[in-house]
Amino acid sequence: MSGMPSSNPIYAIVTLKGPDEVQGGFAPVFYVKSQEEQERISVWISRISSVAVHDMQDGTWLLIPI
């Protein structure tokens, strides 16, 4: 936990898009079929690892430690 704004690496990617459009570099990618599934997985990872969920507004959510 850090209150300091920082440039942390992406922790995980949760996306409605397919593997042809979104691929993980160093961050794991969760491919989901619906927005409910996207929200459930994102919330759980967020609560477990204390990472913030950011909506890229194109069906991809990035989970980034703050």
Binding site: M1, S50, Q57, P65
Partner: protein
């Protein structure tokens, strides 16, 4: 007076110096109830240190006058000691900070630690001045006059020391008002026109709209404008407010972290604060914000930005305030 152990001991200047130094330290202690120390144990350690610095300060001049030069070098030892006090305070506060949801930040911690160091020097300075005046009078007039002059010197030097310790808050340099929290472009959290952060989870956005409180901070002096641009100062603001009104946040809920950010991309100089308070009382939140200390690291920047200009026009203030 001869050197060696047979020199007469001047109890009046020493006693007055010690008492004055301890009083100076005690009076300075009163103002830090809000940040630290919070417990009697903390007070005891600071009062003890204050007493020791007063003793060292009080014997300085009597020792010199008695040609006890070795005793006078104890002053140097004390300075080293107080520097280590600051290091100790820094380490202590940093370790506390690592387990605090809204951290004080390094600027705030250095400010607190340095203040503690300075207050020991002030206690020592008051003791030195009091004992010098009292002993000089004692050497030329009577004991009664020495006590009178010592008390007068003590009062004056304590007054000077307390005015030196300053401890300005943001109250003098910024004005605050409650702003409206809203989302733009779907998920960007704004308070009025100040963008704070991206909130990705829909349920978190609902929470912010229902329970969140936003504050817009406008500089009203050049110091205030400079301070707001300091990241340390804004972290201190977020910490103060969260500490005083509480924040409904925890590990695992990073999207609820209280934030204080500048208005950008224009950068006209306003800042915004948002938090989900435990005590949802806007007036208390504003008061908590205004009670935040103006950090030393932010204090010497004096800027003039559009937000300040607008405030000055609205309140008919001449430039350079």
């Amino acid at each position: 007076m001869s050197s060696g152990g047979s020199a007469p001991i001047h109890w009046i200047p020493i006693g007055l110096g010690i008492v004055a130094g301890v009083i100076a330290r005690l009076l300075a202690l009163r103002s830090d109830y809000r940040h630290y120390p919070g417990y009697p144990a903390g007070y005891v350690s600071h009062i003890t240190l204050g007493f020791l610095s007063a003793v060292i300060g009080a014997v300085f001049f009597p020792a010199l006058a008695a040609k006890e030069y070795t005793a006078a070098t104890f002053l140097v030892l004390a300075a080293t000691n107080f520097t280590s006090v600051r290091k100790l305070e820094t380490a202590k506060l940093e370790s506390l900070d690592s387990y605090t949801l809204v951290q004080r930040g390094p600027g705030y911690i250095q400010g607190i630690a340095q203040t503690f160091e300075e207050r020991n020097y002030l206690a020592m300075g008051v003791a030195v001045l009091t004992s010098i005046v009292s002993q000089l009078v004692d050497m030329h007039f009577s004991h009664v006059w020495a006590i009178g002059a010592g008390v007068l010197a003590a009062i004056l030097s304590i007054w000077a020391a307390l005015s030196l310790k300053s401890g300005k808050t943001l109250r003098e340099s910024v004005s605050v008002k409650v702003g409206k929290l809203h989302f733009e472009k779907g998920s960007l959290l704004y308070v009025d026109q100040v963008m704070l952060m991206e909130v990705g989870l829909p349920r978190a956005r609902d929470r912010w709209l229902k329970e969140g409180v936003g504050v817009v901070i406008t500089p009203k002096t050049r110091r205030g404008a400079g301070a707001l641009w300091s990241l340390s100062q804004r972290q201190a603001i977020a910490h103060s407010v969260a500490a005083l009104v509480g924040t409904r946040s925890d590990f695992g809920y990073p999207e609820r972290t209280p934030l204080c950010r500048m208005e950008l991309p224009q950068g006209h100089g306003q800042a915004g604060l948002a938090l989900i308070p435990v005590a949802n009382d806007p007036q208390r939140i504003l008061n908590a914000l205004l009670a935040t200390p103006l950090l030393e690291s932010a204090k010497y920047a004096a800027l003039h930005d559009p937000a300040l200009e607008q405030w000055e026009q609205e309140h008919h203030v001449e430039e350079g305030g």
